[in-house]
C-alpha cells in the first residue's frame, strides 16, 4: 500500500493541478510543490524498512491484466530503497528551484514534472517486466516536453535527439521482454511477466546473449555509456535547469539500476561474456568524459560530460560484482545525484541572473556572491571526490571492488569480469588503476570551471552587481550540502540496507551462472529444485540464521554473504563464512 501511494501520489497531483485554471500560476506552483513534498513525506514511511533482511519488502502485488499475466507488482529492497528516496527528495527541490525560472505555461510544466516523478518511481519499484517497461517509457514524454518547450537554444533538436535515441534502445528491450514472456510460458505453462518468477528459470546461452544485448543497449544509452552518450550534452545544455537536475539526478540512474536489477542477474552467462567490453567502455568513459569536459566552454556541457565520467565509475563498480563494488556503485549513484544535481542548480542560479552559461561571461563571482560561492564549492568538491564528502565513499569502494575483483561462482569456477583480453590476472588491477586516474582528471576540469566562474578579478561589469542567494535559493541548496556532508562522514545508514540485498543478488548471479553454464542448447530451464538444495546447504554452513519468513511471494531465498569466496589468504577483515565452499578447480587461463 505504501508503495502504491508513493508511486501514484505524484500522478494524482498532476491530475489535480491539471484541473486548476491556467492563470493561477502561484497556486499551481505551490500545489505542485506541496504534492512533491507530500510524496517525500510518504516515502519517509520507508523508514520501517528492515535493513537486515535481504528480500522484498512492502510488496504490492495485484493482477492487472490477468489474461496476459501482467501484475501490478511493486516492491522495494536494499538496492532500490535509497534510489526511491533520492527521487522523492530531489523532486521537491527541483520544483522549488524552478519558481522563477519557469514563467510560461506553468501548469503544464508542473504536470509534466509530476508525471515524470511517477515514471521514475515506478521504474525503481516495479517488479513486473511489463509494468517496468510502461514506467520506463512513461519517463520519456514529460522529459521531451520539458526540454522542448521550456528549454532554450536548440531545444527541439535536443529533445528529439533524446527521445529517438532512448526509444530505439527501448524497443529492442521490449522485444526481449516479450520473448522472455513467450518462451517462459511455453516451457512452464505459466505465462507471466513477473521478474522474481522469471528469475527462477535460465535461458540458453545463445539466447541469453542477444537478450542481454537488447536489455543492455537500452540501459547503456540511459547510463550513458561511451560511445552512446552524445545525446546527454545536448539534452543538458538545452534543457531548463529543472530538467537538467532531474535528468542528471535521477534519470541517468535508471540505466544503471536496470543493469543491476535486470540485465546482469537475468542473463549472467552473457553478462560474463560481455563484461570485459562493457568494462573497457566504462573506463574509456571515465577518462574520455573527464578529458572532453576540460575542453568545454559551456558550463552545462562541462557538467554533462562529468556525468559521463562519473557514471563510468558506477558501471565499473557494477561489473566488479563484489559486495564492495556494488555498494560503492549504489552509493555513488546517490552521491552523484546529489552533487551533480547541485552543480546544475548552481549553474541555473547563474543562468537566471545572466541568461548565459558561457564560462567566459563570468569570473570573480566570489566577491558579490559569497554564500553561493561557499555552497557551490562544497558541491564541486564532492563531485571531485574529496574525502569527507559523499563522492569519496562511493569512488573508494568502487576502486576497492574493482581492484580486488575476483568472482567465484557456484561450482568453484572463477570468473573475471573486469579483465582485458589476454590479461587474466592483472586486468582488474589495470582497470582499477585507470579508473583511479579519473580521480585526478576530475579535479582538473572541476577546478578549472570553478576558477573561471568564481576567481580572478571581475571582468564583466554586470557581474559586480549580481545578487547573492535569497532564502528560497538557500533552501534549495542547503539540503544538498548537508546531505553531502552527512553521506561523507556517516555513510552507514545508506550502506547498511544495501548489503543484504547486494549479497543476495550476487548469490543469485552465481547460482544462475552455473545453471546457464550447465544448460546446453536453448530454451528455458527451471532452477527451482537446485535452489532449494542450495538453500539448505547454505543454512547449515553458516552461523547467521536465515532471514525471517516475511518475504515477498516469489522472492528468491536469501543467503548470507556468499559473494566472495576467498581462495586463501586474502579474506576480508570480517570473517566471511563461505557457505558454498567447494573444492576449487584450477584457475582458468584466458577468459
Amino acid at each position: 500500500m505504501l508503495l502504491t501511494a508513493i508511486v501514484l501520489l505524484p500522478l494524482l497531483g498532476a491530475l489535480v493541478v491539471a484541473l486548476l485554471p491556467r492563470a493561477e500560476e502561484r497556486a499551481t506552483r505551490h500545489l505542485g510543490f506541496a504534492f512533491t513534498l507530500l510524496t517525500f513525506a510518504v516515502s519517509l514511511g520507508l523508514a520501517a524498512f528492515r535493513p537486515a533482511e535481504a528480500g522484498w519488502q512492502f510488496v504490492v502485488q495485484r493482477p492487472w491484466v490477468a489474461s496476459l499475466g501482467i501484475d501490478f507488482h511493486l516492491a522495494v529492497d536494499g538496492i532500490s530503497l535509497w534510489l526511491v528516496l533520492l527521487t522523492t527528495f530531489l523532486t521537491p527541490i527541483v520544483l522549488l528551484s524552478s519558481y522563477r525560472a519557469i514563467t510560461t505555461r506553468v501548469k503544464e510544466f508542473v504536470v509534466a514534472m509530476l508525471v515524470l516523478e511517477t515514471g521514475m518511481l515506478g521504474v525503481f519499484l516495479a517488479l513486473d517486466l511489463f509494468l517496468f517497461y510502461v514506467f520506463w517509457e512513461l519517463v520519456l514524454v514529460p522529459m521531451y516536453l520539458i526540454i522542448g518547450i521550456w528549454g532554450h537554444g536548440d531545444r527541439i533538436y535536443a529533445a528529439l535527439k533524446f527521445v529517438l535515441y532512448t526509444v530505439v534502445g527501448s524497443l529492442l528491450m521490449l522485444a526481449a521482454i516479450i520473448y522472455l514472456y513467450v518462451t517462459h510460458g511455453q516451457a512452464t505453462g505459466h505465462y507471466t511477466f513477473d521478474y522474481p518468477t522469471l528469475m527462477l528459470s535460465v535461458w540458453g546461452r545463445g539466447e541469453q546473449l542477444w537478450l542481454f544485448l537488447a536489455f543492455a543497449l537500452a540501459f547503456a544509452i540511459k547510463v550513458p555509456l561511451f560511445p552512446l552518450h552524445t545525446w546527454l550534452p545536448d539534452a543538458h545544455t538545452q534543457a531548463p535547469t529543472a530538467g537538467s537536475v532531474v535528468l542528471a539526478g535521477v534519470l541517468l540512474k535508471l540505466g544503471t539500476y536496470g543493469f543491476l536489477r535486470f540485465a546482469l542477474p537475468l542473463f549472467p552467462w552473457a553478462a560474463a561474456r560481455c563484461a570485459p567490453y562493457l568494462a573497457a567502455l566504462a573506463v574509456i568513459g571515465i577518462i574520455y568524459g573527464a578529458l572532453v569536459a576540460y575542453a568545454q566552454q559551456d558550463a552545462k556541457r562541462l557538467v554533462a560530460y562529468s556525468s559521463v565520467s562519473h557514471l563510468g565509475f558506477v558501471m565499473l563498480g557494477l561489473l566488479a560484482m563484489n559486495s564492495a563494488g556494488l555498494q560503492g556503485s549504489l552509493f555513488l549513484m546517490l552521491s552523484h545525484g546529489v552533487s551533480t544535481g547541485g552543480l546544475f542548480l548552481a549553474i541555473g542560479v547563474l543562468y537566471e541572473r545572466r541568461h548565459t552559461n558561457e564560462l567566459a561571461q563570468f569570473g570573480g563571482l566570489w566577491r558579490p556572491m559569497p554564500i553561493f560561492a561557499g555552497l557551490f564549492m562544497v558541491i564541486m568538491l564532492s563531485s571531485a571526490g574529496l574525502p569527507g564528502l559523499s563522492g569519496f565513499v562511493g569512488e573508494f569502494l568502487i576502486l576497492v571492488g574493482a581492484f580486488t575483483h575476483r568472482l567465484f561462482v557456484d561450482g568453484g569456477e572463477q570468473l573475471r569480469l573486469l579483465t582485458l583480453p589476454g590479461a587474466w590476472h592483472w586486468g582488474p588491477r589495470v582497470v582499477a588503476g585507470l579508473a583511479a586516474l579519473g580521480v585526478l582528471l576530475g579535479a582538473v576540469y572541476l577546478l578549472a570551471m570553478f576558477q573561471k566562474l568564481m576567481f580572478g578579478p571581475i571582468t564583466q561589469p554586470k557581474n559586480a552587481e549580481l545578487r547573492d542567494l535569497d532564502a528560497r535559493e538557500i533552501a534549495v541548496f542547503a539540503p544538498l550540502v548537508v546531505l553531502t556532508f552527512v553521506m561523507g562522514i556517516y555513510p552507514r545508514p545508506f550502506l547498511a540496507p544495501m548489503e543484504p540485498a547486494v549479497n543476495r543478488l550476487l548469490h543469485d548471479f552465481s547460482v544462475r551462472y552455473a545453471a546457464s553454464r550447465d544448460h546446453q542448447g536453448s530454451g528455458v530451464r527451471r532452477l527451482r529444485g537446485k535452489l532449494d538444495a542450495l538453500r539448505d546447504e547454505a543454512d547449515q554452513a553458516t552461523a547467521v540464521p536465515p532471514a525471517p519468513a516475511r518475504r515477498g511471494p516469489s522472492a528468491l531465498p536469501s543467503a548470507p554473504r556468499a559473494s566472495e569466496l576467498p581462495s586463501g589468504r586474502a579474506a576480508g577483515v570480517r570473517p566471511v563464512k563461505p557457505p558454498l565452499a567447494r573444492s576449487h578447480g584450477p584457475a582458468r587461463g584466458a577468459a
Binding site: 578529458l291 569536459a293 576540460y294 576502486l399 580486488t404 576567481f455 554473504r561 579474506a571
Partner: protein, 714 residues
C-alpha cells in the same frame, strides 16, 4: 601499553572553530573571530599537552625497555562498512604522533596568533581564520588516523585548505591579473598534489588486496603478507611492500614537494605569509615524511624503495638549494629552502634514520616558521614589498624581527649549538653510516653524504645571502606608496605596532610568536644530541628524541630482521667509529661556518661589486638557477598544453565528428535517404499504381497456386 583517551576532541575543536567562523563569521566582530580561531587551536593544544604529558608519558615510561610503543587510542564510530571493507574512524596517539601533534598545535597556535596581527588590514577575516582552523583540523586528523583511508581524509583535506588559502586573495587589486595568478597557484598546488594522491590511492588498493586490511596496526602485523611477490599481478619479483611503498612514496612526493612534484610549492608563496609558514613549512609538507615514518615497517621491508627515497631526497635537497642562490623574492628563497630541507628529511627516512628525520622535521618547523613569519613581518613593514633588491638596512628598525631571523638563519645553516645543526648533522652521519643491500653498499652512502653536504653548503650560503640583503647595508628601495592611508595614527583594528619612518612595525601579536619560535630553534637541539657527545660526556642514550621514538620507528627494523632475514638497510662498518663521527661533525661545522662567513662577506653591505663580478663570470649558471632550471616551462610544454590540446581534439574529433556526425546524424540521414528513394514510387499517376497492383496480384496467385500444386504433387 594502550589506553583509551578522547582523542577526537583534538581535531574537533579546530573544526568547530572553522564551522563557526565560516558560517557566522560575517556577523561576528574581529575580536570574536580571533578568539574563536586562536581559542580553538589553543584548546586543541591544551588537550594535546594533557594527553601527552599527562597520559602518554607515564605509559611510555612504563613501557621503556620493551619494544611495545605506548599508545592512546579511540575508536569513534564505524565509518565505512561494505563487504570486506571495514573502516572505523579510529584515532591513535603514540610517541610519533605526539611529536607531530605538538608541532601542529603549538606552531599552529603561534601562527594563528601572528595572523591576528598580520591580517589586521584584510577584509574576509572570518574566511581566513575559518580556513586556517579547517586546515589545522584536517592536519590533526591526518596525524591521529589509525587507518590509511582516514589518513587520506586528512591528507586531501589539507590539500583543499592549501588550495583555498593559497588562492585567498583571489581578486587582489594592484594589477588585474594578480588575483587570477593567485587562484591559478592554488589550482596548481591542488592538482600536483592530486597526482601524488592517485598514487597513494593505488598504494592503498595494493595493500588492501594483499592483506585485506587498511588499519596501520594490522598491516604491521602482516609482514609475511607484505613480503609476498606480486606474481599474480604479473609484476614478477617485486613484493607487495615494494610496490605499495613506492606508490605511497609517490604520494609523499606530491605532498612534500620532492622532485618531480615540487613545482607547486614556490607558486604557493602567492598566499598570505602565515599560510606559507604554517602549511608550506611546518605542517602540510611534512605530512609525507610523517607518513613514511608512520609506515616504517612497510618501507623497511623494501630496501630498494628506501634507496630510492634517499636518492630522491638528496637530489631534491641539492637541486632546490642551488636555486636559492639567485632568487629575488624573499618568499621564494624560503620556499626553495623548504623543499631542500624536506629533501633532507627524506634522506633520513630513506636510510632508516626515522627518528633523525622526524627530529629534523621538528626543528625545521620552528626555525622555518620563524623565518617565514619574520619574512612576513618584513613584507608587512615594507607595505607588501617582497623583492630583495628593494630591501636592506632593516637591522635597526626591525630589531626583534632581525634577531629572531638571525637565530633562525644560524639554525638552518647548521651552526652549533642551535637546533638545526644537531638535526642536520645526525642525518649526514646516518647517511654515510648506513648500508643498503638493494642498491650499492659502497657508492650510495658516499653519494648521499656528498650531496647532502653540498646542499648544506649551499643552504648556509644562500640563507646568509638572504640575511645580508635584507638586514645589512643600506636601504635600497624607495619608500613605496602606502596601501593604506597614513594620516596620523591608525584607526580600526590592528594590534599595535607603530611606525619608524615609512615602515609599518609589527605589533606584539606578531612579535611574540617570533620570539617563541626563535627560542625553540635555538634550544630544542638539546633534545637530540648525537651519540658522539654522549660518549664524550659519558651519558648513554643521550639522544632523548630517539629514545622517545624508538619503540615506534624501530618496529620496521625488527620486522625485517624477523621476516626478511635481515635484508634491510642497516648500519654499516663506519657506524662503529666514534672518531669518524666526530670528524664529520667538525667537517659539517666547518662547511657551515665557512659558507656562512663567505656569504656574509659578499653581502655585508648589500650586493657588492664582487658579487656582480662573480655573477657575470658564472652567467650561464646564474641564468639557469634564476629561471629555476626552466622546469615549470618544461612541464607546461610537456603536460599542460598537450592535455588541453588533447581534450579539444577528442571533443571535436570523436564526439562531434565521429559519434555525432557520422553515427547519430548519419543514422538519421540514412533513414531520410531510404525514404527519399522509396518516395519515388509515389508518382501520383494512377496507371503506375495499377501496374504495381497487377504485378502484386500475379505474384500472389502464382505463389499460392504454385505452393498448392507443389505441396499436393510433391
Amino acid at each position: 601499553m594502550t589506553k583509551t583517551f578522547p582523542l577526537l576532541w583534538i581535531p574537533l575543536l579546530p573544526l568547530l572553530g572553522a564551522a563557526i567562523n565560516l558560517l557566522c563569521g560575517r556577523v561576528l566582530s574581529r575580536r570574536a573571530v580571533h578568539a574563536v580561531a586562536c581559542g580553538s587551536v589553543a584548546g586543541a593544544l591544551g588537550v594535546v599537552v594533557f594527553a601527552i604529558f599527562g597520559r602518554l608519558w607515564p605509559l611510555a615510561w612504563a613501557a621503556e625497555g620493551t619494544h611495545v610503543p605506548a599508545r592512546l587510542v579511540q575508536t569513534a564510530y564505524a565509518w565505512i562498512t561494505a563487504g570486506s571493507v571495514e573502516l572505523p574512524v579510529g584515532l591513535v596517539c603514540d610517541p610519533l604522533s605526539a611529536v607531530m601533534l605538538l608541532v601542529v598545535t603549538l606552531v599552529g597556535f603561534l601562527i594563528h596568533l601572528y595572523s591576528t596581527g598580520y591580517m589586521a588590514h584584510e577584509r574576509d577575516h572570518a574566511r581566513f581564520f575559518g580556513y586556517l582552523n579547517l586546515f589545522t583540523g584536517a592536519m590533526l586528523i591526518l596525524v591521529l588516523a589509525d587507518n590509511l583511508p582516514l589518513l587520506f581524509v586528512g591528507w586531501e583535506g589539507v590539500g583543499v585548505c592549501s588550495y583555498l588559502l593559497i588562492g585567498f586573495w583571489y581578486d587582489k587589486d594592484g594589477t588585474e591579473r594578480l588575483g587570477l595568478a593567485n587562484a591559478m597557484a592554488g589550482r596548481k598546488a591542488f592538482l600536483v598534489n592530486r597526482v601524488g594522491d592517485v598514487a597513494f590511492l593505488l598504494g592503498m588498493l595494493v595493500l588492501f588486496a594483499a592483506t585485506g586490511t587498511l588499519s596501520i596496526e594490522s598491516l604491521a602485523l602482516r609482514a609475511s603478507d607484505l613480503l609476498l611477490p606480486l606474481h599474480p599481478l604479473g609484476l614478477g619479483p617485486y613484493t607487495v611492500a615494494g610496490v605499495a611503498g613506492l606508490l605511497l612514496f609517490i604520494g609523499a612526493m606530491g605532498k612534500s614537494a620532492q622532485i618531480p612534484l615540487y613545482v607547486w610549492l614556490p607558486d604557493a608563496m602567492a598566499g598570505p605569509t602565515p599560510v606559507s609558514a604554517l602549511i608550506h613549512a611546518a605542517t602540510m609538507v611534512t605530512a609525507g615524511v610523517y607518513m613514511v615514518a608512520r609506515m616504517n615497517f612497510l618501507f623497511m621491508l623494501s630496501p630498494a624503495v628506501m634507496g630510492l627515497i634517499a636518492l630522491v631526497g638528496a637530489t631534491t635537497a641539492l637541486f632546490a638549494a642551488s636555486i636559492g642562490f639567485a632568487q629575488h623574492d624573499i618568499k621564494k628563497v624560503l620556499a626553495y629552502s623548504t623543499i631542500s630541507q624536506l629533501g633532507y628529511m627524506f634522506v633520513a627516512v630513506g636510510v632508516g634514520a626515522f627518528s633523525a628525520g622526524i627530529f629534523h622535521l621538528f626543528t625545521h618547523a620552528f626555525f622555518k616558521a620563524c623565518l617565514f613569519l619574520g619574512a612576513g613581518a618584513i613584507i608587512h613593514a615594507l607595505h607588501d614589498e617582497q623583492d630583495l633588491r628593494q630591501m636592506g638596512g632593516l637591522r635597526r628598525p626591525l630589531a626583534t624581527t632581525h634577531w629572531t631571523f638571525l637565530v633562525s638563519t644560524l639554525a638552518i645553516a647548521g651552526i652549533p649549538p642551535l637546533s638545526g645543526f644537531f638535526s642536520k648533522d645526525e642525518i649526514l652521519w646516518r647517511a654515510i653510516a648506513t648500508a643498503n643491500p638493494a642498491l650499492g653498499s659502497t657508492w650510495l652512502p658516499a653519494l648521499l653524504y656528498v650531496m647532502s653536504l653540498a646542499a648544506a653548503l649551499c643552504t648556509a650560503f644562500y640563507m646568509f645571502r638572504l640575511y645580508g640583503l635584507v638586514f645589512l647595508g643600506e636601504r635600497r628601495g624607495a619608500a613605496p606608496a602606502s596601501s593604506h592611508g597614513h594620516a596620523g595614527g591608525h584607526a580600526g583594528g590592528h594590534a599595535g605596532g607603530g611606525h619608524a619612518g615609512d615602515l609599518h612595525l609589527p605589533g606584539p601579536a606578531m612579535e611574540a610568536p617570533l620570539i617563541v619560535l626563535a627560542g625553540g630553534a635555538a634550544l630544542l637541539g638539546l633534545l637530540g644530541l648525537p651519540e658522539v657527545v654522549g660518549a664524550w660526556l659519558g651519558i648513554e642514550h643521550i639522544n632523548l628524541f630517539e629514545r622517545w621514538l624508538a619503540p615506534v620507528v624501530d618496529q620496521g627494523a625488527r620486522l625485517a630482521d624477523r621476516w626478511a632475514g635481515g635484508h634491510r638497510v642497516a648500519a654499516n662498518a663506519l657506524a662503529e667509529s666514534h672518531g669518524l663521527e666526530a670528524l664529520l661533525l667538525l667537517l659539517s661545522v666547518a662547511v657551515a661556518v665557512g659558507s656562512s662567513a663567505l656569504a656574509w662577506k659578499l653581502y655585508r653591505a648589500g650586493p657588492s661589486a664582487l658579487v656582480a663580478r662573480l655573477t657575470a663570470r658564472l652567467r650561464w649558471f646564474y641564468r639557469l638557477v634564476l629561471n629555476k632550471y626552466w622546469v615549470d616551462e618544461l612541464y607546461d610544454w610537456i603536460i599542460v598544453r598537450p592535455y588541453k590540446a588533447l581534450a579539444v581534439v577528442l571533443f571535436q574529433l570523436i564526439d562531434r565528428l565521429v559519434i555525432d556526425r557520422l553515427g547519430v546524424h548519419g543514422a538519421a540521414r540514412s533513414v531520410d535517404g531510404v525514404g527519399r528513394v522509396l518516395r519515388r514510387l509515389q508518382t501520383g499517376s494512377v496507371q503506375h499504381y495499377v501496374v504495381g497492383l497487377v504485378i502484386g496480384v500475379t505474384a500472389l496467385v502464382v505463389g499460392v497456386v504454385g505452393a498448392a500444386l507443389l505441396g499436393g504433387g510433391g
